[in-house]
Amino acid sequence: MSSTTNYILGVYDDEDEVLHAVGEVKAKGIKVEDVYSPFPIHGLDVAVGHERTRLPIAAFMFGTLGMICAFSLISYTMVFDWPMIIGGKDFFALPNWIPIAFEGTVLFTAFGLVSTFCISNDLWPGNKTLPLDIRTTDDKFVMAINVDKNKVSAADIKKALKESGAVEVNVK
């Protein structure tokens, strides 16, 4: 987190409270950046207003790429580079290629998706990102509001968080 960002954090004790608080805070015209929780809360992504992940599109592309690569590899080796007769079939024996294409599709999709997910969530090896509040890994729920992206004043945001049931309001 760069030092110029100005966050106000509302700390909550209970997942139900934080779920309702998101709605209350947003109703006052305040943009909620994100909510941090030790475990997934059903419906929270909708309440915060996150867009749906675009990972499925990436999956389709990785899968298509994997299929093309597998087809190219097997066709190049078995048809052009070193043609071999196996079981009396044509050199280009399409049905035999399908299991290989399937494996290539699965392999590329799996590795591609894990890599994309980790990179897009700052989880690459060696990266040390500290949570905004270390207690979100234990028993606290934190609503983060970016002051710079809000037209509402910092004082009003703090007040709104308090009113919505936050046990603590911190600035970071």
Binding site: H42, G43, V46, R52, P56, G88, P95, N96, P99
Partner: protein, 460 residues
């Protein structure tokens, strides 16, 4: 997520009304089917019905073009099929134009029996796995097995009176040593493939299906009246018993009803393959039935989350069908044993190539299009895409069963003519009529199902 929370188990009861107008429409469809069938039969009796001749002529033109280049290959293929189908040359001599009618009756009876019984399988599976989400829509598949009362007797009657038309192993004298039709391979299978044992299997397992469905249906309706979790426990037991029986009987009926048509040929994957085909078709029928009811303004509590799950089932089982179908093909293709490859050669190269188009079309309809149409989350939650995919799947799997049954029964006399369209219309309208009648007999939602509140809040 909060949108449908105002439904509570107490106020969801609603009934489907099978209006006289609706009945009339289905009866008109039935009559139209009968008329098409009669004209088709008349054309058949006058000689070959139209339809396939055009297709065959088209193929001949294509074939002529290929022939120069592939002469050697064609001859080799013809040679293989000629050698292995020598037994069918005998069958051809007995060919009678009415055979195609009986083949069609058998095809549709098998197809719709499958849809009916998998309705029961689906409900049983939901009880066995104690699934919550499906309790809002389980009354729809629960009504399907009613059609078994019509389709199973048809299977029994056709087998009893016209079995020799459909099954090579029932031809006169094939198991009789010294008879000119004697066939050693079929004689070796006669301990299993004989008229009495076949009928026993059909009656016993078919009877068990109907019996267990009646038990399940009765308990399910009593639950509506009285409530209480003891009904659920009993339903789980009935469902489990059915799954055990269905596990064996679905494979056995796949061998009996379909695989034994090509008596010399066998595949250890055939039970799975036919079950996969039945299964995915039934999901498509369930989806269409629910969407029809929703269009009527009923089943408002079945929201896009439940449809999404059904869409996932259609998507997944289309791929499952493809997997099974392709594995069966690939192993046979790879091993290249003449007695196994004959099955696919017959459908690809044999019978003047009249089955080749269907074989290609089937893979497009059953795999490629559902795969692409239902791939995204939005498509599985949008009614129009679900409808398109469901229609494609039903048409594709009708063709799948056509491909399983027709080449072995009518061979080069097959085709898509008025007989086929008439017969499928007759069966489909009878199916819709029976199922609609059964749907009116109970509330569309099992209002005392213990998991109903969970299903009403289903959110994915």
């Amino acid at each position: 997520m909060a949108g449908h929370s105002h439904f509570s188990p107490a106020n969801v009861e609603e009934h489907f009304e099978f209006t006289s107008e609706g009945k009339k429409r289905i009866i008109y469809a039935f009559i139209a089917g009968v008329v098409a069938l009669v004209i088709g039969i008349y054309l058949l009796s006058k000689g070959e019905a139209g339809g396939h001749e055009v297709a065959a002529a088209g193929h001949d033109a294509v074939k002529a073009g290929h022939e120069a280049a592939n002469a050697g290959h064609e001859v080799a293929a013809e040679h293989v099929s000629g050698g292995a189908v020598s037994h069918q040359a005998g069958a051809e001599e007995h060919y009678d134009w009415t055979n195609r009618i009986w083949a069609n009756v058998w095809l549709n009876a098998v197809f719709f029996t499958g849809i009916a019984v998998v309705g029961m399988f689906f409900v049983s599976l939901q009880y066995l796995t104690k699934s919550g989400w499906s309790s809002v829509m389980k009354r729809v598949p629960e009504a399907f097995p009613k059609f078994l009362y019509i389709s199973l007797p048809i299977l029994i009657l056709v087998f009893f009176f016209k079995g020799d038309v459909i099954f090579h192993w029932m031809h006169h004298g094939v198991t009789e040593v010294g008879n000119e039709n004697y066939d050693k391979i079929i004689a070796g299978k006669s301990g299993y493939l004989n008229k009495n044992f076949f009928l026993i299997r059909l009656v016993v397992f078919g009877g068990l299906w109907i019996l267990l469905w009646n038990m399940l249906r009765k308990k399910s309706l009593e639950e509506d009246l009285n409530g209480g979790t003891e009904y659920f426990t009993q339903l789980v037991k009935i469902g489990t018993a059915f799954i055990v029986i269905f596990g064996a009987s679905s494979s056995i009926f796949a061998w009996d009803w379909v695989m034994s048509i090509d008596t010399h040929w066998f595949s250890t994957m055939f039970g799975w393959y036919m079950f996969a085909s039945w299964h995915v078709t039934t999901y498509a029928v369930i989806v269409l039935a629910i969407l029809y009811l929703k269009d009527k303004g009923l089943m408002g509590y079945v929201n896009e989350n439940h449809l999404h799950d059904l869409g996932k089932f259609m998507f997944a089982f289309s791929i499952f069908w493809t997997y099974v179908w392709f594995e069966q093909f690939l192993l046979i293709y790879y091993a290249n044993l003449p007695e196994e490859t004959i099955y696919f050669l017959e459908r690809w190269e044999g019978h003047n190539k009249i089955y080749k188009t269907s074989e290609i079309l089937m893979v497009i309809l059953n795999f490629l299009l559902p795969f692409l149409v239902l791939m995204t989350r939005d498509a599985k939650r949008t009614r129009i895409f679900l409808k398109i995919a469901a229609f494609l799947i039903i048409a594709g799997h009708y063709i799948d069963f056509y491909q399983m049954i027709m080449p072995g029964v009518v061979g080069k006399h097959g085709g898509y003519g008025l007989v086929e369209f008439g017969m499928v219309t007759v069966f489909a309208s009878a199916f819709i009529y029976v199922i609609s009648g059964e749907l009116t007999k109970a509330s569309l939602v099992a209002k005392n199902h213990p998991f109903l509140p969970e299903a009403l809040h289903h959110d994915i």
